[in-house]
């Protein structure tokens, strides 16, 4: 072997990506029919990882469209590490700039909820704050209490489009009936994994503002004001009950 190992790898990687190699020994390898097995396996591994991590997007756009967009994305942002469960964190941003996706303006945000699901699924374990723990807080202390979002909690308000409904209808339950009655309005979403299963609930603008403030370390009094600021008629006790029930908080400080 006259060629160094690193030169071999460099040329092999180039041939995998470009289909040709400057190095003549590796170019001869790339001309063998077996070379395609490596190229196909690498591509399949990346595409399968994206399909697994973005199932709602894959369902919305169909297999062929997804494969085309995935191929472009993989060319720009190949995996950097072998944990493919975490691959494609920037796929939502990519879709926002991918010209063929322009006619599907909700696609990047639906992708973001798929990403939230992955992040919640593999986040650190944490016992959620129980509703009973809050019930024990004296009323006059409640306003000064700080609730920190659960380690797995991910949330966002989408002002212009019903992203949560679009996502949920295309995720596991694939309930397309609900799409017929879809109201085109803003929706927020919260995903959290209090135990083994990722839970997803819809949140209003005020609900999102509330948990934004909690995430920034605000006391409940000021988190409540933040919620009222964007949604003057919000039912704060119903919101708290809903957040506690889903396990949205991981820590409580007084």
């Amino acid at each position: 072997m006259t060629q160094s190992l690193s030169a071999f790898q460099e040329a092999f990687a180039q041939a995998l990506q470009l289909g040709a190699a400057h190095d003549s020994a590796v170019a001869a390898l790339a001309a063998q029919p077996g070379f395609a097995v490596y190229r196909n396996t690498v591509t399949k591994g990346c595409v399968d990882a994206l399909v697994a991590n973005y199932p709602a997007v894959a369902r919305l756009v169909g297999d062929e469209w997804f494969r085309v967009s995935a191929a472009v994305f993989i060319g720009q942002s190949p995996p950097r590490c072998p944990m493919l469960v975490d691959y494609g964190a920037t796929f939502p941003d990519f879709l926002a700039t991918f010209a063929p996706a322009a006619e599907l303006p909700y696609l990047p945000d639906v992708a973001l909820l798929d990403r939230f699901w992955t992040e919640a699924h593999i986040a650190s374990d944490q016992t959620p704050v129980a509703a009973a723990a809050i019930a024990k807080v004296e009323l006059h202390e409640l306003g000064r209490t700080v609730l920190r979002p659960h380690a797995s909690a991910r949330w966002k308000w989408f002002a212009d489009q019903p992203i949560f409904s679009l996502w949920r209808c295309n995720r596991e339950d694939a309930n397309t009936d609900a799409l017929r009655t879809l109201v085109w309005r803003g929706e927020g979403a919260l995903l959290v994994r209090p135990d083994a299963t990722v839970e997803a609930i819809e949140l209003s603008a005020g609900g999102c503002a509330f948990i934004d403030a909690c995430g920034a370390g605000a006391q409940l009094a000021s988190a409540s004001l933040a919620a009222l600021d964007v949604e003057h008629d919000i039912d704060l006790s119903a919101l708290m009950a809903q957040l506690l029930q889903v396990g949205a908080f991981g820590e409580m400080h007084r």
Partner: protein
Amino acid sequence: MPVVGSALDPRVADHDAPTAGLGLRPPHYADAADAAAPGLWFEVHSENYMVDGGPRLAWLETIRTRHPLSLHGVGLSLGGDADPDSDHLARLNRLVQRFEPFVVSEHLAWSSWNGVYRPDLLPVPRSPEALQRAVANIQRTQDTIKRTLLVENPSHYLEIAGHEYGEIEFMTELCRRTGCRLLLDVNNVYVSANNLGFDANAYIDAFPSRYVAELHLAGHSADPNLGDALLIDSHDAPVCAAVWQLYARLVARIGPRPTLIERDDDLPAFDILLAERNRADHLMQAPANLG
């Protein structure tokens, strides 16, 4: 010759000695936890469990309390001309410490290069330089996880001109220089022999018994364009008759070794895999009974 611990971790003493095992995939978690065959063990891809928390780790914890576990890595790039990624080694070490697998294995291949990971096991030209590099990478890994590593023979699809060692010679040298042991994948031998035109029986007969600590059995598929002229190690089918014959021939010579049925794609029901696993278990005890 630095030998790091034993290839088989003594801490598996709380279970039956591992005989035949199954690759573990998420749809089979509950079945795997409940399965009770004597000697049954499970193997997972280490990379799928390099996460902070969540159900994967919780299931692995449950299954680990009931069965011996093997950690099989696909991402260390032992055959590449670079040190193993220190973050990746640290993650592997955390898994080894937490789950106390009875074996830890990797491949004679590379996948990461210049900061890009390619999800495949790419080929290594067997030169003195590559040998020296693989030795250093195996030593580094063993020093980090404080365990003997098992190294698996690759599947081949290309005639690479200029190999300076035979594959068995190369892998034997790895064992001599690092104290590592070998994971012999019988299907990989069959696929490679078919694709490169060598005699699978001769390879199996020449493989050094003393270094073999684990065996793999898997299914393969024919290339969609070239058919049987090019077989692909796809892990998406049952073990074929010819691979069972190679396996029986091998265990008749070297005796029983922990043997895994590897299935990663087109996953059938758990019972179907368990039946395949039981066949390996029976053959391991009585290789003459291949029927």
